[in-house]
Subunit: 440 residues, 4 copies
C-alpha cells in the first residue's frame, strides 16, 4: 500500500484536510504555531523507588528524534509517526530540522520543526512547546535528545526505543511501540483526565477497510479517554535522572555564554575537560564545596552524574553509581598519580575545575554530554558544576531528565530495576574467569 | 564574672565532698543508678551541610572510651575525666568495664560501668543512659565505641580526640579538649537552656589554691548557663553518619540473633563476608532491591557505608564516597572476574548476600565493623543490609552516628569539610609522580 | 621385583589376553619397581617461540592424575589408561594412591603408586621414575600435578586434557587423546629413536575382535618406531613455564623444612602470604634484590610467576603477563594504600617478604600453589623467592614445568599461541560495554 | 674571574689557539669535521645485573643537551662544557642547533652542531659522530636526547644530570658532575687504555694562578690515563634500556617514512595511538604475534617499554615493570570495557595496532616518545612494534639506550638499584592510609 492510497483511506485525515488546506500537510511548520506545552507531574508511589507520570491533559506535541547515519531507522520513524498521527488525532509531530526536511514529503501530515540554531546552541522554543520526547536509537540518541534541552530547567518525559542493541538507559524495544505509547499517553488519566472538559473532536467516519484487530490502532480521542477507567498501576514509571548544572567562567569570574542562551548548561552524563590534541598534561585545580581539594595533573577530568557513571567515567576507572544515588562523580583521566582514586560527592556540593597558571601549550577542550564547546578553556578559566536538585523544598519532584522506564514482566513493583539488567547485559558485569577449581 | 565569684556561688562542690564518704568515690557504680538519657536534636543550618547540635538540657552521663594497649592514653583519660568531673559537677563519668576496674582507684570520683556482656554482645542499658560519648584514640577507637551501640537505633553524639596521628573521622586534637567539651556541652544553650528551670546548686566555698587562669577550668553550673548569651554560631557541628542495618538469616529465613539483643545490628563502616582461612573461593549470590544481580566468585564481599568507603572497601578498589552521599557500596574482595567493578547503590536499596549451594569447604566468616560473628555463615544463609535512614518522613534528623566535627579555622561555614583535609593528609590522595616535563 | 624380571614375564601383553585372571595384574606395585626415568631434551626451533620435545628413547612410566570429586572423570581415566596400556605395551601406568586403590581392580593391568606421604609432602621417588605426566581435569588439576614435583628441579613433560571447560593452561580436548599421546610419544623419534638399539618385543597375536580402523589403536612397539620416518614438524611443542623457588626461613635465618625434603619448594603459580582468619592487617617488609623496597600493610602479598598472573594475582589487580616473559609479579592483596601498584620484576631478582616486629595477633598463612604450609609464619620469619632459570649458562633448556601445548590448526608455526585464545575465551578479556555511538 | 680573563690565562687554550686560528673558537662547526665515533663495549659483571662500560679509547665527541625554557640550566651548561673543555683537552663539545647559536659566543672554545632537520626528523650524522651524550634536565630531557637517535640502531651512552627534582631514569645530581664525568671518561681504562698507544698531547704549561685543589680539575691527557692503575670497580654502570622498534604502514602494507630516514623508529618510552581532539572512540584491532587478539574500543592504545612503564602507561593503569624485564606493555587508554586489563608481552613478540574500517571521523594521532607524527593514521593503517634485542645471538650486548646509572653509596654491588629508590621517592609508591589500628 503506498502512501497516497493510505492517506485516502484515513478518514480522519480527510476531516483534517478539510479543516486545513490541501497544501497544509506535507509541509513544515514552525514551533510557534504549536499550542503551549503540557507539563506532567511526578509522584512517588508508596512501595516503589520510581515515580509515576501524571498528565493534567493528554500530551499533544511529540518530538521524535532518531539516530543519525542509520538508514533502517528512518523507516521506523515513518512507521511510528504515522501510527501516532493516525491513532491520536490531536497529536502534533515535531522533528529535528534535518529529519523534517528529509521526511516531510513522505509523511501524510504536517511536521513541526525549528530553524537550525548556531553551532552547538539549543533551539530556544523547543522546551516551551514539547510535551514528550521519543527517541529511536541507542543511548547516544537519548543523550543527543537530552542536549536539545540542555538550557531548560524542565525536560519533557523521554520515551526511548532501542533500535538494535538495547542500551543502558532503559530503552523499550521498538516492536512494543504501540503499547508503550498508549501507556505513556494514558498515564494518570484515571486521576486527571476524567475531570477535564475536552472539546469534542470531529467525528471519525467508519473505516472498515482499514480495520485492525489491534485495539492499540483504534484512533483515540479525548472523549474516549474521558470515559475510561484506569487503574493507578497503569501509570508510566519515571526515573528522574539528575543532571549537572555546568557554568563556564572567565578568569575574571564573568560567565561565558556558550550559545545564544544565558545561564547554566545542563548535562545528563558528564562534563569533560581534556587536553585534546595538546601533547601536554593539564594541571587542573579542583575545588570541592569551595575548598581546594587537589591539583590534578592529568589528561583531563570528568565530572559525571550517576547516569554518566557507565559512560566515560567508567572507562576512566570510576565506580558504577545507581542513578538514584544523589551524587556527582569526580574521575580523573589518566592522572600522573598512583593515588588519585575516583570520588563520589554529594550532588549539592559545588565542584570547580580551574585551569591553573602552570599550564603550558594550548587550551583544554571542554565537552558537555559529548558536545565540544566552540572555545576551549584557557588559563584562569573555570568550569563550575553543581548537581541538579530534583526535589523542591516543598517535596515536589521536578527537573532532571524524566526517563520512562520499561517495566520488567513478572517482577514485583519494587523489584523493577532496568539498571540491574543493564549491568549484566550491557557491561558484561562480573564475567568470571578461570575454572571453579581454584584454591587461594 | 570572675571565677572567684563563680566558685563562691557553687556550694554544691563542698556539699558533695561532705556528703560523700571516703569510700563513696573511687567506687564503681552500675549504669542503673544513672539518670535517664538526655537526647539532643539536630537541625540543618541554612547555609551549611552539617547539622547543629541542640541539647534540651545539659548532658550528664558521659561515656569515655580509650584505645586499648596504649599506655600513654590512660594518663590522658584520667586528666580528661578529672577535668570534666571538677568543671562540670553534674556530670557522671561512664567507663568501659576494663577501664573502670583499671582506673577507679586513681579517680577522685565515682565511675559508672556495666557488666561485661557475653562475647561480642552489646551492653543493653548503655544506650538508655549515655548522653555523650568521648573517645580517646584513632578511628579504630571510634569504631569500637560505635559498636557499643550497634543494637541501638539512636547513638549519642560522639566527640573524638586523636591521640597521635589524626584519623579520617574528623577527630579533635587532645590539647583542645577543654574548649571542645565546653562547645559541645553548651551547644544549643542559647536556644534551649535559657528556658529551663534549673535547681540552684549549693554554694561552693572559696578555693584559692585551685585557682586556674583558664576560664575553661571554672566549674560550670546550670545557673551559669542560664544566664549566658550564646550566639547561634556556638553550636557544635554534627555530621550524621549513616549506618548499615545488618541482619543475618538462616536458610529457613529465620533471623539469627547474634547476641542477647533482638533485631538488626548497625554498622558504622561495613559488613564483610570473607573466606577467612578457607582455601576456597566463595560463591556468593548478590541480590539488589530483591532482584538477583550477580554471582560473585571471590575471596569475599564488602557492603560499606560512605564512612567505610575509606576503610576496607578502599583497599579492595572501591571509590571514595563522601559521608553525606546517602548510599551503600558493594565492593568485591579479589573477585575471579575482570569486570566486577565496585557499585554505589542507594542507601534505601536492600542488598542481600546469599551463600549459594555451590560452595565447598568451611563456612565463611562474617564481620561487622571488625567484630567477627561467633558463628560463620553456612550454605543457604543470608546477610541482609539496608542503609539507615537519617531523616524521618517528617524531616526530623535522627539515627546514624552523630559525629561532632571539628571546625577548620579561617574557613567560611559552608566550606568546612574535614573530609577534604582527611583525603589529602591521610590518604595521601593524588600524590603526583614523575616530573612536570612530560608529553603525551 | 626389578624391572629385568618384570620385562621377562612380560610377553605380558600376550599373556594378559590369554589368561586374564592372573592375580599378577590388577595389583598395585611400588614406584621402586619401575625402570629409571627417561628425560627428554628441549630445543628451540628456528622460527618459533615454543620448544620442541625430544625423547632419547620412548617414555615408559606415565603418571596419570585426575580432578578429584568428579565422577565422570574416573571413566575417562580408565579409558585413557587402557588405551595406553594396550597400544603401547612397554608403558607402565602410575596413579596417585587414592586413584590406585579406587581403580586397580577395574584395570586389566598392574598400576604403580607410592605411599601417601605426610601432609603436604611430596613423594620423593616420583620425580626419579616419571617420564611423562598426563592430567585429566582443569587448571587446578595441572597445578596439583605440578605440586607433586614441587621439590624436584626437573619436572617431566605434562600433557593435559580438559574435562569440561578448557582451562587457561593450554589443555587438549579429551577426545583428541589418541592423537595427542601419539604425537608426544613419538616426539623427536625422527632424530633420536632411529639410532637406538631396541630389544625386539614379542610379536603381537592378531586380535580380530578388537580390530580398530584407527591406526592410533594399533599396538606400537619399539621396532615400529625404529622404522618410522618422522618429519621434524611432528615434534610436540613445549612451553617451559618458569617456576618460583620458594624458601621459608626462621628469624635466625635457618631454613625451615616444610616437608621431608630438604631445600627449596617450587611453585608453578604463586606463593601467597595472607592474614587468613586473623582480623589484623599484616605488616610485611618487602626486599627486592636485597634492598628494602617497602613496608606493605595489607591482607597479604602474592609473588607470582607469569603463569600465575591469570590466577590470584589477577583477582588482586595484577597485570596479565605472558608466560614467556621471564619475570616475577609482586601483587599486594587489599593494601592499605592508594599507591601500591603491582610490580613486574626480573625473574632472577630475589624477593624477600619479612614479617616485621609490628605485627599483632596470629601468624600469617603461607600457601604455595594453593597448598597451605602446616605452620604459618611468625614475626621475623621470611619467605624468599627467586625465579627459576630455565636456560643454563651453556644455553640448554631445562627446569620449569614443560607444558605440552596444543597447536592451533590453520595457523603458522610462529603464530601459535594458546595464550591469546585463553585470554579471549577464559578471561572474557576486553568485553566491550555500551553502544558504539558514544562521544568523548 | 670572568670568562674573558679565564680564557686568557688558560695556557693550553693558547697552545690550541696557536694551532687553530683565532676565529676558530667561538664559532660553530659542522659535525662532519669531527673524528669518527668511539663505540664502547658493555660487559656483564659476574655478581651484578648492570653492565660495565668499556671504552676502547677515551671518548672525544660529547653531545650536551639541556631542558628547554629553563633559564638556570643555561648557566649550568656553560659551567659543565667549560669544565670538560678545560680538563679534557681532546674533547669536542656538540650542542643542539638552538643551544649552539644561543651559547657559542659565550664559550671560549668551538662548538659543533648540525643543521636543524625538517620537523620531527633526526639529524643523520649525529649517531656517526657522538661518543657520549650528557643531558641537563629531567626525564623529559633524556627522552628528547634519546629521540635524537630514534633512527640509530646504536645509541651512545647517556650521562644524565637532574636539574631540580631527581627523575625516575636514574639521573645524577649536577653537583657531582666532575666526579661523574671522570668515572665515565675513565671507565674501562684499566683494561683497555693501558694497552693503547696514544699520541702525546702538547705539553701543558704550569698554571699556578688557576691551580685548583680538586684533582678533578686537573687537565687530563691520554698520557695520564695510560699510566693510571684503575680497579675494575671503577667502571661506570650501564643499564641497557630496551627500546621499541616502531614502523608505520599504509593500508597497502607499504612503510610510511616519517622523516628523511628510512626504516624503523626507535622509542625509549612508548608509542601512543590516541583519538586526540576527535570526539569519537577509536576502534583498534590488536594483533599479537601475528594473531588477532582483540578489538580495542578506547581513547587509544599504548605500547610501552619497561622504561616507559612509569610514564603514560602508569597513568592509564599499567603495571610497573622493571627495566631489566625484557618485555612490551600493552595498555589501553580509557577502554570501553570493564575487562581490558593491561598486558605484559615478550619483547620479541611483534604487536600490530590496526585502525579498522569501523572508525568514524578524523584519523588518530600517533606519538613516539612524545613526538607527534606529522600525519595521523587513517583507516587501514598499522603501527607495528617489536622490542629491541639488546643481546646478540653471540651474547654481545648492544642496542638500547645505555643509561649510566648512579651507584648508591653504602650498598653492595648487587643491591644497587636506582629503580627501587625511584619507586619510593618519585612515584610515592605505597604510601599507606589510615591508622594502624584497623581490623578486617
Amino acid at each position: 500500500m503506498n502512501h497516497l492510497v493510505q492517506r485516502r483511506i484515513l478518514p480522519w485525515r480527510t476531516a483534517r484536510r478539510t479543516f486545513s488546506s490541501s497544501h497544509h500537510h506535507r509541509t513544515i511548520h514552525p514551533l510557534t504555531s504549536l499550542p503551549p506545552r503540557v507539563s506532567p507531574s511526578y509522584n512517588l508511589r508508596p512501595t516503589a523507588t520510581l515515580l509515576s507520570l501524571n498528565w493534567p491533559s493528554p500530551p499533544r506535541n511529540i518530538l521524535i528524534t532518531k539516530k543519525k547515519r542509520t538508514p533502517g531507522i528512518t523507516a521506523s520513524l515513518i512507521e511510528y509517526a504515522t501510527h501516532l498521527s493516525s491513532t491520536y488525532p490531536s497529536i502534533n509531530i515535531i522533528l529535528e530540522p534535518s529529519s523534517a526536511s528529509e521526511l516531510h514529503a513522505d509523511l501524510p501530515f504536517p511536521v513541526y520543526t525549528w530553524d537550525e540554531p548556531p553551532w552547538n546552541a539549543t533551539p530556544e522554543l523547543l522546551s516551551e512547546k514539547t510535551d514528550l520526547v521519543c527517541t529511536l536509537g541507542g543511548d547516544g540518541t537519548i543523550l543527543r535528545a537530552s542536549s536539545l534541552f540542555s538550557h531548560a530547567a524542565t525536560v519533557p518525559p523521554v520515551l526511548s526505543f532501542a533500535m538494535g542493541t538495547i542500551g543502558f538507559l532503559g530503552e523499550w524495544k521498538f516492536n512494543e511501540y504501540k503499547r508503550a505509547f498508549r501507556e505513556v499517553y494514558m498515564s494518570g488519566a484515571g486521576d486527571a483526565y476524567a475531570n477535564l472538559s475536552f472539546p469534542t473532536p470531529p467525528a471519525l467516519p467508519t473505516n472498515t477497510e482499514n480495520a485492525s484487530s489491534d485495539p492499540l490502532d483504534t484512533p483515540l480521542s479525548y472523549a474516549d479517554i474521558r470515559g475510561m477507567s484506569m487503574g493507578s498501576n497503569r501509570t508510566a514509571r519515571i526515573l528522574l535522572r539528575n543532571r549537572l548544572k555546568v557554568g563556564v567562567f572567565g578568569p575574571d569570574g564573568v560567565r561565558l555564554n556558550n550559545s545564544s542562551s544565558e545561564g547554566d548548561t545542563y548535562a545528563l552524563n558528564e562534563v569533560i575537560v581534556h587536553r585534546g590534541s595538546s601533547p601536554h598534561l593539564k594541571i587542573i585545580d579542583v575545588f570541592v564545596g569551595g575548598r581546594f581539594l587537589t591539583e590534578a595533573v592529568a589528561d583531563g577530568m570528568i565530572i559525571s552524574s550517576p547516569t554518566g557513571s557507565t559512560a566515560y567515567s567508567l572507562s576512566s576507572g570510576g565506580s558504577i553509581v545507581h542513578p538514584l544515588v544523589s551524587s556527582l562523580l569526580l574521575t580523573p583521566i589518566c592522572p600522573r598519580s598512583l593515588s588519585f582514586r575516583p570520588l563520589v560527592l554529594p550532588a549539592e556540593t559545588p565542584i570547580t575545575l580551574r585551569l591553573g597558571e602552570k599550564n603550558r601549550g594550548r587550551e583544554v577542550e571542554v565537552s558537555i554530554d559529548g558536545k565540544r564547546l566552540s572555545d576551549g578553556m584557557g588559563v584562569g578559566m573555570e568550569v563550575r558544576v553543581l548537581g541538579e536538585e530534583v526535589r523542591s523544598p516543598t517535596g515536589e519532584w521536578r527537573g532532571g531528565v524524566p526517563s520512562i522506564v520499561r517495566g520488567v514482566e513478572g517482577l514485583e513493583e519494587r523489584e523493577e530495576d532496568h539498571w540491574v539488567g543493564g549491568l549484566n547485559a550491557l557491561l558484561k558485569f562480573n564475567y568470571p574467569f578461570g575454572d571453579q577449581d581454584g584454591h587461594r
